[in-house]
């Protein structure tokens, strides 16, 4: 499979994200080709591969309050708790990629680890009581919380679900509001369920 060069795209119609610089985009594209290339077509992605990809993609549709980043160079930090598989997949996929122009990092979170500097928190498995309090704390720190099995939907902003063997997700706008996060309506469009009143 060969992608055409983006030099063909007319300036006027170029998407907003392209306007930052074509050269950088070209390098990204080259890297992407390397990544995508080896993947054998037709080979079904595993659940955690998908979830890692989703998690990574969520960051693109969420806006954090400005003070959560120290500066333009501050990386976007993904904290993964309770799912080594997802963390691995996420690390694999984020190599050399940016989110909203920021470098992305993955931090494996053990119990008692500080949430400082974290932007996205994934809590794998069934969320236990301590984990729930962790989620509460994360929400208070404007951290996008993603879970895969939560007791109450409003405890996390996004909660993965498996519907007909496909990975889907719910979005809780209450939680997002509490975390002071702006979730793009485009994300809501593809969400399985959106709870909480829209603004």
């Amino acid at each position: 499979m060969r992608w055409p060069s983006h030099a063909h795209t007319e300036e006027g119609r170029a998407p907003r994200c392209f306007r930052h610089g074509r050269r950088r985009f070209a390098t990204v594209l080259a890297l992407l080709l390397l990544l995508v290339g080896p993947a054998a077509p037709g080979q079904e992605a595993t659940e955690y591969e998908l979830k890692a990809a989703f998690l990574y993609n969520f960051a693109g549709y969420v806006e954090w309050p400005a003070e959560t980043f120290g500066g333009p160079e501050t990386p976007l930090v993904f904290a993964v708790a309770g799912s080594e598989e997802l963390a691995g997949n996420l690390e694999l996929m984020m190599a050399g990629r940016t989110v909203n122009g920021r470098a992305a990092r993955v931090r494996r979170l053990a119990g008692g680890d500080s949430l400082a500097g974290v932007h996205v928190l994934f809590a794998g498995g069934v969320v236990s009581a301590p984990a729930a309090s962790l989620l509460q704390a994360a929400l208070a720190q404007s951290i996008l919380t993603v879970t895969e099995a939560v007791a109450r939907p409003r405890d996390s902003v996004i909660n993965f679900e498996i519907v007909d063997g496909r990975v889907r997700f719910d979005v809780s706008l209450d939680a997002a509001r509490r975390a002071d996060l702006q979730v793009s309506s485009r994300l809501l469009q593809v969400a399985l369920r959106v709870t909480g009143a829209t603004q």
Binding site: P4, P15, L50, F54, N57, N100, R166, Q189, V190
Partner: protein, 518 residues
């Protein structure tokens, strides 16, 4: 009126054609512009559409939500020109698709290179779906441009507009053309009237100050000129007619006068002929009647002399002899008068006559009558003439008799008869060396009873030369004399009409008797 209507029609047609051409050009230009604008607008439209589609489909691709992608595509049903659309994932696999209900063509198996392609009246657009510098897949859209519909619609509008514009143009030009055509039509009408009626007093009305106005002025000036010339021509014509009538009248008058004159001449001629005849018959009857008493006088006088004795008393015998001589002379006189009247009458014959022989014969007669005289006579040989032989003999008897008589006192009397050629005519002459005469009396020579010499010297009646002249005139000729006193005389005559002769002579030549010579 055919021509006049055609001028109007031409003007209106001109306006129509101009309007039509302008509409065509303007319509074509606007159509070209519109088509161009329409196409780029359509392309822009669809590009926006696919961009929106790409933007909306990015999350669906990222989160592998086919349903949402299909819903997004299904929204395209509100755009009826879109016939089909599809979303392909990053690997080129079909992710979601949309087909208009009437469309059953197959979707492209793989996304193609990004951009707009126009195939006939359709456009095909491929668009990469990119998020955060990452290609998520491709959007595909196929839509009808409906350019042909647009063109047809546009042309029908243009047609309606053109019809309307031309209708308005017809109305306006029909109204406006009268400003141009009215003066021309007026000229045309007047010129027709002038041609038909030949009345040049019409004038065209000048309605404008343009070229048509100039035309009207020129036309009117022309009519002025024609009118003036026609008038002058008519006047000349009538003058000529009058003149010719006068001339005709004058000619008729002349003819009439001529006729009157001719009639008068004929009348007079008839009267003259009548009186001539009377005169001549009187003359001949008088001569005849005179003869009888004369013969009695001379006869009884002869008898008296024979019967009376030789010796008569006194001069009786001498008286008797004188009576006899006088009566003889009178008889001669009567004879001559009868001759003179005879030569005027009867047919004039034209025979070939041996003039020389005739002259010699006459000379022979003279010698016999007077044998004791010695006269030298020379007659030229071989002279021939066409004349009446009897009359010619009388001429020669008279002329030679005169010559013989007037040479009687000469000892060496000589007579000559000959001819000379004078141009065309032959002139005959009789010459003698006798007493001659004074040329002063030459004009009296040929009158009757005119004598230049005394009776006692040379006896004669004075009628001979008158007779000669009469005969010569009857032949159409002339007679004249040349003489010197004491040296002789020469009488010339011709016997043929000559154009150089006097008119009197010519009329003589026609054979009519000349009353004035009597």
């Amino acid at each position: 009126m055919k021509l006049l209507r055609s001028l109007r029609v031409k003007l209106v047609g001109m306006v129509l054609l101009t309007t039509f051409c302008a509409l065509i050009v303007a319509g074509a230009a606007i159509l070209a512009l519109d088509i161009n604008g329409f196409r780029s607008q359509r392309i822009g439209d669809m590009s926006t559409q696919i961009e929106l589609l790409a933007l909306a489909s990015a999350p669906a691709l990222q989160f592998e939500d086919h349903a949402v992608a299909n819903q997004n595509l299904a929204l395209l049903s509100i755009r009826p020109t879109v016939s089909e659309a599809a979303i392909y994932d990053a690997r080129g696999g079909l992710f979601a698709s949309y087909r208009r209900t009437d469309n059953d063509s197959a979707l492209p198996a793989l996304p193609e290179r990004e951009g707009v392609t126009i195939i006939g009246d359709e456009m095909v657009i491929f668009r990469r779906i990119v998020q955060d510098g990452e290609i998520l897949g491709s959007a595909y859209l196929r839509a009808d441009i409906l350019l042909y519909d647009r063109i047809i619609g546009y042309l029908s509008i243009l047609g309606v507009v053109a019809l309307g514009a031309m209708g308005v143009a017809v109305l306006v030009s029909a109204w406006l053309q009268s400003f141009v055509t009215r003066p021309i039509l007026s000229i045309a009408r007047i010129s027709r009237g002038v041609v038909r009626s030949r009345e040049y007093s019409y004038r065209a009305e000048k309605l404008s100050n343009d070229e048509v106005g100039l035309l009207v002025e020129a036309f009117n000036d022309m009519l002025d000129e024609i009118e003036a010339r026609t008038r002058a021509l008519e006047q000349t014509n009538s003058e000529l007619q009058q003149e010719s009538a006068e001339r005709k009248r004058a000619r008729e008058e002349v003819l009439r006068l001529n006729e009157v004159l001719e009639r008068k001449v004929l009348e007079r001629t008839r009267q003259l002929e009548l009186s001539n005849q009377e005169l001549e018959s009187f003359c001949s009857s008088v001569s005849h009647d005179l003869r009888a008493p004369l013969r009695a006088i001379s006869g009884f006088s002869d008898a008296l002399i024979e019967e009376l004795p030789k010796e008569l008393p006194g001069n009786a015998r001498r008286y008797l002899e004188r009576i006899i001589a006088a009566s003889l002379r009178m008889g001669q006189l009567i004879e001559d008068l009868l001759n003179l009247s005879r030569v005027s009458r009867g047919e004039l014959r034209r025979d070939r006559v041996d003039f020389s022989a005739l002259a010699r014969d006459v000379v022979e007669d003279l010698r016999e009558r007077d044998p004791q005289r010695v006269v030298e006579v020379s007659v030229w040989d071989n002279m021939e003439v066409e004349a009446d032989p009897k009359l010619l003999r009388i001429v020669l008897e008279n002329l030679l008799g005169n010559a013989w008589k007037f040479t009687s006192r000469k000892d060496d009397a000589r007579l000559e008869v000959g001819s000379v050629r004078d141009g065309e005519r032959e002139v005959y002459f009789v010459r003698d060396n006798g007493v001659g005469f004074d040329m002063r009396y030459a004009d009296k020579l040929f009158g009757a009873f005119q004598r230049l010499h005394g009776m006692t010297e040379y006896p004669g009646t004075g009628i001979g030369l008158a007779t000669v002249e009469r005969i010569v005139h009857r032949h159409g000729g002339r007679v004249w004399a040349d003489a010197t006193v004491g040296k002789g005389a020469t009488f010339y005559f011709t016997l043929r009409a000559d154009l150089s002769e006097s008119p009197e002579a010519a009329s003589e030549a026609r054979g009519t008797s000349d009353p004035q010579t009597l």
